[in-house]
């Protein structure tokens, strides 16, 4: 099964274009691993609280943990807050430090320094992924799943540790950056989950992202999730048959009948149109991205909330690896 190679890792970044359902997929993955008993941290980066809203908990200040389900915690990670936390840990004189943190020149510096916030964001994520529980000595989290910002910004922060590593050849920054880079580039521990919908713009952006991840960032894409795919059901020929029957006339119809038939036809056209678009772009994605692929169906539900996420979460693991894909690196138990 395709997902076992994914679940053998412990740091997953969920990336994709805005609006394709990154939060949905990250939450569904997190629910699934937590359900299996893994202590899981779901991270929102510079979040506006989408995941919090989904789980029905208030948005906490950056860096604070919110329990959202059994063995599942949510945290919002933000660069400036992560930097302050880092300084608090490394600088002995807290009183002086507080003064610095509150000073305008410090705040200005944090805003003005290129890449600093991105570096601290990824540093904080690394810290959480690597942290040991003081009481037990075990790693604090079995899984850290990151709901990343939209594509461009993800690339920016994912590339920061390498940039810091390349800039410094010795010293503290070099050592810390090299440990982060080592974790990020290790396909046994880290995986990038690409999320797309099977439409023109998201597909193009995903293909580009996949190229850049492999070539420029040397990060390991692990899984492609295609979200909101309209599954074959009603056919264009069904709509044509109905349209044909309507134009042939027959018995005179009431206004209500005409409206009803018009709407049945409209729904059929809309659905068969999306089925065709999705199948065309799914083909294109599969041709361009050689990764285990999970296709999540479009859900015809009245609302989209936790119940729907749970449904998708179940489907994530139920989907067998489609043929033609690269073999999973590890054999699963089932």
């Amino acid at each position: 099964m395709s997902l076992d190679s994914l679940f053998s890792r412990r740091l997953l970044f969920v990336v994709g274009k805005g609006g394709v359902g990154k939060t949905t997929v990250a939450s569904a993955l997190a629910l699934e691993v937590a359900r299996r008993g893994a202590r899981t941290l779901l991270v929102e980066v510079d979040g506006v609280g989408r995941a919090a809203q989904l789980f029905g908990v208030p948005l906490r200040p950056a860096g604070e943990l919110a329990p959202v389900a059994p063995s599942l915690f949510l945290m919002n990670v933000e660069g400036s807050a992560a930097l302050a936390e880092y300084l608090m840990m490394t600088v002995p004189v807290k009183r002086v430090l507080q003064g610095v943190l509150n000073s305008r020149i410090y705040q200005y510096f944090v805003a003005a320094a290129p890449g600093l916030k991105e570096l601290m964001t990824i540093g904080k994520i690394w810290f959480e992924a690597d942290r040991s529980d003081e009481a037990t000595g075990r790693r604090a989290w079995d899984f850290v799943i990151v709901d990343s910002p939209a594509t461009g910004h993800s690339l920016q922060y994912l590339s920061m540790p390498q940039a810091a590593f390349d800039t410094f050849t010795t010293g503290l920054v070099h050592r810390e950056a090299s440990r982060i880079v080592e974790l990020l580039q290790d396909p046994d521990r880290t995986g990038i989950v690409l999320v797309a919908t099977a439409e023109e713009m998201p597909v193009n952006e995903t293909l580009e992202m996949n190229r850049r991840l492999r070539r420029d960032l040397r990060l390991p894409p692990a899984l492609l999730v295609v979200n909101r795919v309209h599954q074959p059901s009603v056919r264009a020929s069904d709509a044509d048959a109905l349209a044909g029957a309507l134009t042939r006339g027959g018995a005179p119809r009431s206004e209500a009948e005409r409206v009803f038939l018009g709407d049945v036809l409209r729904a059929a056209r809309e659905e068969s149109g999306w089925i065709a678009i999705n199948s065309r772009y799914l083909e294109k994605l599969r041709a361009g991205v050689s990764l285990p692929t999970v296709v999540l169906p479009f859900l015809f539900s009245e609302e989209f909330g936790l119940a729907q996420i749970r449904q998708l979460s179940g489907l994530l693991v139920a989907t067998p690896a489609p043929g033609g894909n690269r073999k999973p690196r590890r054999k699963g138990a089932s």
């Binding site: 274009k17 002086v96 119809r253 009948e257 409206v259 059929a268 149109g273």
Partner: protein, 367 residues
């Protein structure tokens, strides 16, 4: 006498198309511009989204950031599309204000400047506003449609320029033109040793001499940021003006609508003129007064059994979607101020990134 969104567009000179990412802002902005041109106005659509197919569809081919192109068509007025690229907009600003070619090149190569112009949060939004003010003052166009940058949160467009203005505040810049800043942290007597050490270490972490670069940038460009606050203030005044109307674009999904609601509330607080809401990609319930059994019998009488089953099952699924959309749209509408007009655009059977898409959207925005 026009009604609804048509009237809003007819009566305003500046239309801002706002909303969270991926809801159809660009398509809406283009459709509004097209409508204006058809009504005899000299319209311009200022867009940032790299929706190439939209450019192709409008017959303007490959236009690059910072360029504009006239759309050919049988309009009473005219339609121009302008692509905004924040990097080239900043570069243009520097070129305009740099005292010499040498200073210009030094600034363009400055790492702090590159950070500011490419990635600083708010600089894209600020540049869109700067461009809007320039177009507004220029008088070449009598309808300016602004397609707001693709932010994650709709509100970023309103707040980001103010953040940038705070960042480039004259009081702050004054520090940086003092000589000791140019020498870096070690020369700063105003801070104690721990703070100096700390900041030095932070600076090491980022790999550039932030202080030196920032200082050099402001020294080179002294004058450029004089009155920056006032300029941002003026752009906000234009957004609040009577001649400006905001059109909020949203899809009837929970998360999009909850962001849209927050946006509406915030607009009220900022005294920004929200005039219209466009619900895009909506599904509509079938209003036919017909029992379901009668309807099903009707369909079965027209097509083969297997076809009828698929058609009816699909219809039921769409009714479920439509039911949810209807509740959410109604709820949202009931909380809007009364003078805000709404328009509903159905979810079509194709993605709207071409001229055909604009044509299909048109009758729903301007019935």
């Amino acid at each position: 006498m026009s009604r609804g969104l048509a009237r809003v567009v007819d009566e305003h000179r500046v239309i801002v198309s706002a909303g969270s990412g991926g809801v159809g802002k660009t398509t809406t902005a283009a459709t509004i511009g097209l409508y204006g041109a058809q009504r005899g106005r000299r319209a311009v659509v200022l867009t940032i989204d790299p929706a190439r197919r939209l450019a192709d569809a409008l017959g303007i081919g490959e236009i690059r950031g910072g360029e504009e192109s006239r759309v050919e068509g049988d309009f009473a007025g005219s339609l121009t599309v302008m692509m905004l690229d924040q990097k080239s907009a900043w570069d243009a600003l520097v070129r305009r204000h740099a005292p010499s070619a040498e200073v210009r090149d030094r600034v363009l190569g400055n790492r702090f400047y590159q950070h500011l112009s490419e990635t600083f949060a708010g600089s894209q939004e600020y540049m869109a506003l700067e461009q809007l003010c320039e177009l507004h003052a220029g008088g070449r166009f009598d309808l300016i449609v602004v397609d707001t940058p693709p932010t994650r949160h709709a509100l970023d467009f309103l707040e980001a320029p103010r953040r940038l203005a705070d960042f480039l505040d004259r009081q702050v810049i004054k520090w940086f033109v003092k000589p000791y800043f140019a020498a870096g942290w070690s020369a700063m007597q105003v801070m104690n040793r721990t703070a100096r050490f700390l900041l030095q270490r932070l600076e090491d972490a980022t790999g550039i001499s932030v202080l030196v670069e920032v200082s050099d940038f402001f020294n080179s460009m002294s004058g450029l940021f004089d009155g920056f606050q006032e300029r941002v203030q003026r752009t906000y005044q234009l957004l609040q003006a009577k001649e400006t109307a905001f059109v909020l674009v949203a899809s009837p999904e929970e998360q999009v609508l909850s962001e849209a609601e927050y946006f509406c509330r915030k607009m009220g607080e900022l005294r920004m003129p929200l005039r219209a809401v466009v619900f895009n990609r909506a599904h509509f319930e079938c209003g036919a007064e017909l029992t379901r059994a009668d309807g099903e019998r009707l369909v079965r009488g027209l097509v083969e059994a297997a076809e009828a089953e698929r058609l009816l099952a699909n219809f039921e699924r769409y009714e479920v979607l439509a039911g949810g959309d209807a509740v959410r749209m109604e709820d949202f509408r009931s909380r809007l101020p009364r003078r805000v007009v709404t328009a509903e655009v159905p979810n079509f059977d194709s993605d709207l990134h071409d001229i055909d898409g604009l044509r299909r959207m048109h009758p729903f925005l301007f019935p």
